[in-house]
Symmetry: C2
Subunit: 420 residues, 2 copies
């Protein structure tokens, strides 16, 4: 552990030094580094693919499961998508230095906000090597320094990709240590990173729930995290039946393994007529439906199984859905308050009061009205890119883009005023 701490202190010092330069780097230099990194990634594609092949061989030897190997695999298309991602980040407006709300106060001073980077960001992630480029690119554009700790199974791929970014930084006149990879698979280094509060300003874990829980439990550094996505769609009494069907099917079946997929469908008893129609549509698409008593009754003749208490608290991340008929609006909101993970919830209703109340009363990072939970996404929201989706209550909620990687400081302009 002593060694791990020594290694991490060196990385931390380098990052802090680099963050000082990145904080005041001009937009042109940052964009140049991003587009150059994209070009170098395309140029070095064979090298990156060879490095990835070494990771894939090791994965084969270590008998990793197929899903993990798919996430680990790079090919020409995936490497190109990484480069394109960096170019897209270059094209986004620079959030840093923007001044907001500069207003005169009675004392004669002008007070406003300036957007500033957070400093040093530690990213801890699992097998996907593209996170190396995505996360580094977002940190770079937002004027932060990044310490990247990828999965040990992707170490060769991550090394190759990080080298492209560091080269591009140097060639753009920026410090290469603005992007540092923890170049070791020693697990003690994660522990040391989480205890580097002197050097690291925030930790962003990206990966499965167990990784994130471990990071949160051990970290002395503030964490921006995303736990579960137990998302609800609530079909209100005043829902248009066709819209309800379309949104429910999209929210569940558009993609299964994603955090913004619907896991529980709530239906107002007065909308019971839609139950057999929606259940049939879902079953036809191969979804396993677990319903409350009433759902089962209303789905007579359809293959709906009875839900258990546990179902309401489960993020399936697969072709399974729990369905509950609620007595009224309040019971729907109550159910969401009890079981939601605070990620994304949507109401389907033509009723103004119900919609307004839902927006106000549901306490989730994204609250929607007449649309699919699948829209909870940085690109769909117009952030251009996202480093993750926060289910925290402080700093930033929901999709985290460049702005979420910054904060504001106060600026005060005077002409000699002193306090009376």
């Amino acid at each position: 552990m002593a060694d791990a701490i020594t290694i991490m202190q060196a990385l931390g010092k380098h990052a802090k030094e680099a963050a000082k330069a990145m904080r005041v780097a001009d937009t042109c230099a940052k964009n140049s580094a991003l587009t150059l990194a994209a070009a170098i990634i395309r140029r070095d594609m064979q090298h990156i693919l060879a490095a990835n092949a070494r990771d894939m061989d090791a994965a084969e030897e270590n008998d990793l499961d197929a899903a993990l190997k798919d996430r680990l695999l790079l090919n020409g298309e995936r490497v190109d998508a990484m480069a394109e991602g960096l170019e897209q980040i270059a094209a986004l407006p620079d959030p840093v230095g923007a001044i907001d709300n500069l207003r005169y106060r009675p004392s004669g001073i002008q007070v406003g906000h300036m957007r500033v980077p957070l400093g040093v960001i530690g990213i801890i992630y699992e097998s996907r090597p593209n996170v190396t480029a995505d996360a580094a690119g977002l940190c770079l554009k937002s004027g932060n320094a990044a310490i990247l700790r990828g999965g040990s199974e992707a170490i060769h791929s991550n090394r190759a990709i990080a080298a492209c970014l560091r080269r591009a930084l140097v060639d753009s006149g920026l410090p290469q240590n603005a992007v540092q990879l923890v170049d070791s698979t020693d697990r003690a280094l994660v522990g040391a990173l989480l205890k580097s509060e002197e050097y690291v300003d925030v930790i962003i874990p990206r990966g499965g729930k167990s990784l994130i829980e471990r990071v949160t439990a051990d970290s002395r550094v503030p964490v921006i995290k995303h736990l579960d996505g137990i998302c609800h769609v609530y079909i209100d009494a005043a829902a248009d039946p066709e819209m309800a069907l379309s949104i429910a099917v999209n929210a569940k079946t558009h993609r299964y393994g994603v955090c913004n997929a619907m896991e529980t469908l709530l239906i107002h008893q007065q909308s019971a007529a839609v139950v057999p129609v929606i259940m049939q549509a879902l079953l036809e698409r191969g979804v396993e439906v677990r319903g409350c008593d009433k759902t089962c009754q209303l789905s007579d003749g359809l293959d709906v199984v009875l839900a258990t208490e546990e179902d309401w608290a489960t993020e399936y991340l697969s072709a399974v859905l729990s369905v509950r008929i609620v007595d009224d609006f309040d019971q729907a909101v109550e159910h969401i308050a009890q079981f939601s993970s605070g990620h994304t919830e949507s109401i389907v209703t033509a009723d103004y009061d119900a919609g307004q109340r839902f927006l106000r009363e549901v306490d989730s990072a994204s609250v929607m009205w007449n649309t699919s939970t699948r829209f909870a996404d940085g690109f769909e929201y117009g952030l251009g890119a996202e480093i993750g989706i926060s289910t925290d209550r402080l700093h930033v909620r929901g999709p985290v883009g460049l702005e979420g990687l910054t904060n504001q400081k106060w600026i005060v302009l005077g002409s000699g005023q002193v306090r009376q």
Copy 2:
């Protein structure tokens, strides 16, 4: 400790329940609770003063020092100021529910932000009983529930004040548990509060450095904190000498024991002519000046003592100032980066480039140009009131008002759109 955890869990559950109602409480009910609390505090003044007298007697018995006793003391004027503070909070605009930046996306959905409370806020503070009213008032107006843990030496005063607030909540149709006082002087309860991550969303410690360091080290709940205020004024080469004198004297001598007082004065060597003038003005006001070599030379004949390395890193909170002559702008910014606590720094200059660079390059919660650091204050910035000044890097920096006690969630309005 088991008992402490049980007590805190009960408080936490009540707070969480109350937070649900406070989150959707309308502005009128919240304002009514605040003005009613002010009226009840004025009506019950004799009762509050009697409770305070018990605390003062105990302070006498326990031989507390004079400064502590002054902070603990209530009188008619101070109780009235507390009531007035609540009325001022009632008069502030309600931040909750405000919708920002609702914009159409290419998919046809509208995406924007709604301002929302944080939830349950734990406040840990020391002897001043007025914090009970101030903190509770700010939490109430921002739609949060507060768990207050005041100093044990103020327990009777805090009890009497909290009772007024709880009565006002009930009489305004709001849950009395939106304001709860930890009604015990058992220190184990602080530890239990800091481990209540299940119920408490954020902890705000208010008090001396040792309190805040202890809270930060032990807390499992995110903390909004304020450590030191080692504030700098930098007199640039292009500073107007009269403005430099006036700002330096105000920043140091307007009040000594406050976090936004100047602790170190940096002077560009080309402005050396102001050194004896400013030193004399400060010495005349009873300030002890500790200067670098050059400062001592330039203050020939004046009673300036030589500063040690330790002086640059010291928050005096008293009539002491360290002064350093710097070679150039970069050395000033470098000195600030090394020694500042990130609270507030000010440059005095008529030079556009120097001012712009200072605003951008200095990484503190407040960065000022041609004005006194003493302006770093929630009232002066127009927040109406402040619960503290944050020197953190996440969520909120500088004076924390109602907005700092809230966050934003995403709201999405559609008309049946689904993800393609």
